[in-house]
Amino acid sequence: MSSQDDVAADAVRPQPTPETGTLRERVLEWADSEVFKGAISLGPILLLLTVFYAVPVALLLVYSIFVEDPFASGLTFEHFSRFVDVSAITSLQFSELSYVRLLGRSIGIAVIVTVLSLVISYPITYYLGQHAPERWKIALVMLVIIPFWTSYLIRTYAWIPILSNNGFINSALTTVGLPSLPLLNNYVGSIIGLVYVFVPFTILPLYASMEGLDSSLIEAARDLGASRWEAFREVVFPLTLPGALAGGVFVFIKTAAAYVTPSLLGGTSGRMYAQVIETQFGTAFNWNFGAALAVILVVVVLGTIWIAMRWGIDVKGSRGLGGGGL
């Protein structure tokens, strides 16, 4: 039977109910459908994400592959090849690093900050989740949240009198006859500032995991011959890994793209990748190259997270990454 015959046959056959019902009935029926309900509930957030997230990211991609104005100039790969050119130096003012090495250093700092944040969060959340008296828990968790009530910028500035050459720490050190340490205007300053700002973001999801961890599992491990460290390695760590990964991934993404903290505390050696992106958009007005740098950052960060997730699944073993904070 040909398609024309089909159409002809349809025209003769009595139509199914939706076609024969009144307009009102058809509207009501459609309003009751799963598609409509889904669109109503997910629609606003999808619209928001599309306008404020997907469109800008797509614009970045578009800018990065045109010589100048998108669609008005030629397609090119020159911005990406400029990134990998090790002879090109990143800054108009300070740094002598190539773009690749600067990105490498930023990722390195992000890894260090993430690991330090987790190392600091583990004992705190272990205490909060497993040992803190019930009536103190909320107050103690509030202590973690309270710093958010003050501006991020002010809290970061506050580190300058603490870390500077004649700041609190160094005057304390020299008073007791120890040499002073270079803590400000280098990557140490960046790392300290970033860990300070982001530690709550690892504490909160890790606390959720710790709180949910049945303490009799730790006791069982101890009872079966595990030392404190072995009980942590065999039971606490794998079972709280979802929380650690949730917090760690967030901190990693935020620090890999950190701008304010390294600008204030990092000086030359603490300079990070996002500062160069800003230079391209702000000072150099090379939006195309800036966009290419941003696209590269997104790809590298996503790749690193993917590797971390694979590792997480390996550590947790055959039982998979179930439950917890993720």
Binding site: D214, S216, L217, E219, A220, A221, R222, D223, L224, G225, A226, S227, E230, E234, V235, P238, L239, K316, G317, S318, R319, G322
Partner: protein, 364 residues
Amino acid sequence: MTSTLHVDSVTKDFGSVRAVEDVSFTVEQGKFVTLLGPSGCGKTTTLRMIAGFETPTEGRVRLGDHDITTEEPYLRPTSMVFQNYALFPHKTVGENVGFGLKMRDVPADERSERIAKMLELIELPGIENRGIDELSGGQQQRVALARALITEPEVLLLDEPLGALDLKLRKNMQVELKNLQEELGITFVYVTHDQEEALTMSDEIIILNEGEIEQRGTPTEIYESPQTRFVADFIGDTNLLDGTYVENGNSAAVECGSVDVPIDSLSAAADGQSLSVSIRPEKISLGDGAGTGTGNGNGNETAVTLRGEVEDVIYQGNVAKIHITIDGTELVLEQQVIDTVNLPTPGSECTISWDQENTNVLTG
């Protein structure tokens, strides 16, 4: 090596709350001892002090000649089976069972061999690679047991291990646990609030109430001769009558309202002292009320015989609970139902009787 577990005058305070007060007992190797009591009586705290999860405020815990009061849990030759099993959810059955061996650096080959043997012992062979969430409650319970036993502990501590199982499975496991314990010859210290479970499995029962030992003894001693009001009430059903001790020449009785319960004269009690007596419902037998009441039918001259009225008959299948009032004092007796026709009718006159040696005078 024989090592007796000694708990010497152990006291435990949590802040201002005293959970356990001056508890002492010994458990010979290979015995099955149950700590029995209502929730909050200190039984779990006592068990946790033996395991090393709590340190006694006062007193010592010894195993043989070895003082383990402050020893870390992982250095003690004790193993614990937890109430919720505490199986590691991220590890397979094999990894769970072999955990204790791994911590003792037993080589992998030997480990898997012993895991396989253990799983055979608990009649779940070949499930090494299963996940914990793939097991039923009963299977998880067995795996928890295997995990605790694989390190060959001298003392196995069990904290209400059957509490989460349904009744039928629980009854089966009670028998299996007891058989396993006899087979392995390991000392079991078992915590439960279920008196029937305690009576079924234990060589000896220690009854705890508000942190102190009320009574210890074999299941028969505990059931047949409770010494305190608490024990009589907590274990099984009983008729508890409170009254005063009256001595009259060479006979004595406890006057409980309208009923005088004759007892042997007590050297320790003074005239007019408050006392309670306990008579188990199944020890009381029922006469027809017209007769003279010849005790429990064996003509025993120490039989106690009373006249009363049948108040209520509660049929429970194999037994019937018959409520009798004697001038306002109510007693319950339990009768095997052999023929439903023979059950008394409420309102009818009757005599009840029991052997005087089944009257338990409660001193505490």
